[in-house]
Symmetry: D2
Subunit: 309 residues, 4 copies
């Protein structure tokens, strides 16, 4: 396994997630060059030793280039656009693509890179910016196993856990499964939290127990403040959750796997959207559940831990 | 808070769970007297310093008596039966009842004890014997808050986490909610695990990632060997899970809380039972899901961690 | 088979349903004596040749007494109360009980009657007052087959169809199944009607086709005015539908039959109740469905047939 | 409205459905020319006065040409293929397309026809060959309202009911809604039939009542022999039902209409397919339901009416 500190690493995309990930690389001592459309957002990383590039082509000399942007259009632009990573004569050995893109986009990207002799690791993640900062991110990776081995030292600087699940775009399916599960788990938590509340148990007491129980997860813990104090500042919108549930159901059709809990959760998320709850966090499933139970929710105003900070 | 080592503690019920719990008390230095219907099962605890009682009445001199038996009938027998804990002239100050009994049974027990001036803490748990041994058990408690305070030092010797959720039998509702969630989570895991497998991801690789992800839980980790290697030695039967789902749905009716994911999971567990999968662990939901997907499962024969040992 | 015109028939209960049923008997030439708590409601039947009794005991001389009241408490009162049908020395040969009561109530009633040597036919119906007037009612009957044969001539005067399904209280289960189906069918009609509307098809055009299609039923036709013109004057409340769905699910538990569509419909009806739609007809499931689809419904104000008048 | 007997009508497709429809036109006195790929299948219609064409182009001189073939590929071939209806210099005024094709296919066909100045009526049907013969078919039509008016006299010779639901391909959506409903209704009937059976009511007695009740439909009646005597000779395969449910769910996504009962029924049909029940009629949902209820079904061997013959 290569020494991460001698590998030249490029980073494309300094949004909330990208910043936190690149920051961990920089703090971990990586030889890092970053690029962001809005260059100013990348500047703070210079204080941690990172170089800040003006052009994407400057990253082409790196061994490994990580990409963490928003959409498939953004990914294509930064890789294969007129000023993209591949627009000069050089190209890196390996691209690690971490954005949430579809199987089809991922396969197209692999083709574009392969035509230039660049290997690709599809590497979506589980977690948000706070999870990254808390050192609790996890990667799920697919592509050539050699590419995974090559990336592992730098992946480990970013996250304690990186799983390799196989060739091609398999990690994209796994990420979709993960998000389907996230939707089902949230709806089920909403059902039982409202039941416990109507029976007389305050939400903070109920969730404290659930979080400590064998069923507790990093996720259940970091959603607890939203459920207890009704802070629904968006981390993931109902529309995005519906999209991922639909991707899961599409995969279920293709592979002939019935997914009744996923289907039903999908319809509940659609109901939430139909009822106009579109601009806040999908955790407002709790509010939908309360309404269906004849209950008007109020914030409990109890300080609760998110398990991260 | 009282010093656990000076409090005299009685323990009734040395089954798989009860043994593991009492063993932690003994190893933690508690002044412990245990009783079990089959006395021989309790003997090994003597080597750890516990006294082994011949009669339940011997425990009446304790400050706190824990009860961990199987059914409500057993609970009533050991407390209020002809040779029960209360059959002599003395009685303990507090009974901590940890068995999985109904709200109605719990309330009746509180009445029986109250008539003799004994306080009661309803204290069901989250976890199995392996979880206890690994020091990961959690209690959810209800009853007088003073009773919770009094029990806390000894609860902490058994489990790192003990939540207090309120008066009366509220902890029974919370335990039911916990088990409803456990059913939904298992069915959802079955759906996505089979989807991932049909897409090409081995179950062990898929679950390794899920367990490391923000969605991973102690539960998902200790069910992983069953899902990967198809070891369905029973820990919790489909009939018991159906019973708890029905208790959850009954509570949903009473408190007018619709629980669509719980309802659907309940019907899937019934389907499992109707198809004759009754004698093995409820984790066979994975097999039911595979059949519905036209897939014959085979053990992967990959050593995987259960996260406990 | 006996001649209906020579059989002396008693009728208890002149509500909306009872009036319409008794009216058909009277118009059919039956030798009819009616009783109602509020006697005035029964008077119009005198003009059709019926006798109006002052006391329930006057009906004890009849061969067959029909009962059509509201609740099990009402049934018990009119049969076995201090001034009830059995409070004198005589008793009829046969009671035909048509109210919507539970299996348990039905069995208890059979016991009360049997102790006095009175046979009982449990005979709930499918249809409302308009259906009766249109000559489209149907009975489902259980009890001794001889009782069914004896009642058949008079049943036929009331309704064109009377099915015999077996001994005891089996007809009560069948009625529950019927109402479970009614709930599921209404929810499914709500789903597809809103889908068709959002795609551009007016509700009256959509339902005209559905009613004419092989899927059309007397029920789908008589609910059409409600769906098209949003007239939700109550015929059957959400609470009553929820009760029957719960009875169906209870039977499903007892006989170990999973009923996923019934379960889900039940939870949707609960949601409707939780959202406060309790005082109008259960056909407001259409409104709930529209809201979940981001659609505000307006009456189409198109005259549509209910298929009855 | 034109006189159907003076309008020259062409018919393409003499399968089971097509034969029964064309036969009604011929018996009704229409001036009819038929074409079928296998000419022999059309010959019997000559005895009823129909002309049998050798080439599709012979039908181009007709006023109205009906098309009733299997798939979109067949439709395109017979209309726009090298030997298709439009392959000569003439073309009919109106094509009435009755096959079960998608919205997209329907729109493409309308374009192909429009380019040659031919109007099109999209006219899928509700019913099978036996329904047609029994004179109980219904059409749902969309396209120019003038085209509907022009076709009405001949539509009425085939079927008593023809609904017009609007412009374009709206009738395709309505047909999809119809089939979604058919799936949900069948699953719900399966649930309650098995519940009634396990409670002690024979299936034939249960369904006799349901068919006579306000919930009974032409469909419930003609599925009764399958449910009672387990004759699952295919009329509609599980794969075709799944396809239509998926089309319904796709439309639900597009128009943002959650369809929980349709989703769940879809997953149950998938389960049926996964379990290998693919070659018989979708009414085998009854068998799936019985298995989930721990019941082995046996034919009742009771003659029951299908309500048609």
């Amino acid at each position: 396994m290569a020494d991460a500190s001698k590998t030249k690493i490029g980073w494309v995309g300094i949004g909330r997630m990208g910043y936190a990930m690149a920051e961990r690389l920089a703090k971990g001592g990586a030889d890092l060059t970053v690029w962001n459309r809005t260059r100013a957002k990348a500047e703070p990383l210079a204080a941690l030793g990172a170089k800040v590039a003006r052009e994407l082509t400057e990253l082409a000399a790196c061994d490994i280039v990580y990409v963490m942007v928003s959409t498939w259009d953004d990914v294509r632009e930064v890789i294969a656009g007129p000023q993209g990573l591949l627009s000069g004569s050089r190209s890196p050995k390996l691209v690690v693509e971490c954005s949430s893109i579809s199987l089809e986009g991922s396969a197209e990207l692999r083709g574009l890179l392969g035509a230039r002799g660049v290997q690709m690791l599809a590497a979506p993640v589980s977690g948000n910016a706070k999870v990254i900062k808390a050192g609790r991110l996890s990667f799920v990776c697919s592509g050539p196993s050699a590419a995974f081995e090559a990336a592992l030292p730098s992946l480990r600087l970013i996250a304690p856990a990186a799983s390799y699940v196989g060739e091609g775009e398999l990690s994209r399916i796994v990420k979709i499964c993960h998000n389907v599960f996230l939707g089902v788990v949230t709806q089920s938590l909403a059902e039982i939290t409202i039941l416990a509340q109507k029976a007389g148990v305050p939400r903070h007491a109920f969730l404290e127990f659930m979080n400590q129980s064998v069923m507790g997860s990093t996720f259940s813990r970091y959603k607890t403040p939203a459920f207890v104090n009704l802070d629904f500042k968006v981390t993931f919108t109902p529309h995005l959750l519906r999209k991922d549930l639909d991707l899961g159901l599409d995969a279920g059709r293709r592979f002939e796997v019935p997914m009744p809990l996923a289907s039903l959760t999908r319809d509940i998320v659609q109901t939430m959207i139909g009822r106009g709850m579109t601009e806040e966090d999908f955790a407002k499933l709790l509010v939908l559940q309360a309404e269906a139970s004849g209950l008007t929710l109020e914030a409990e105003n109890v300080p609760v831990s998110d398990g991260l900070s």
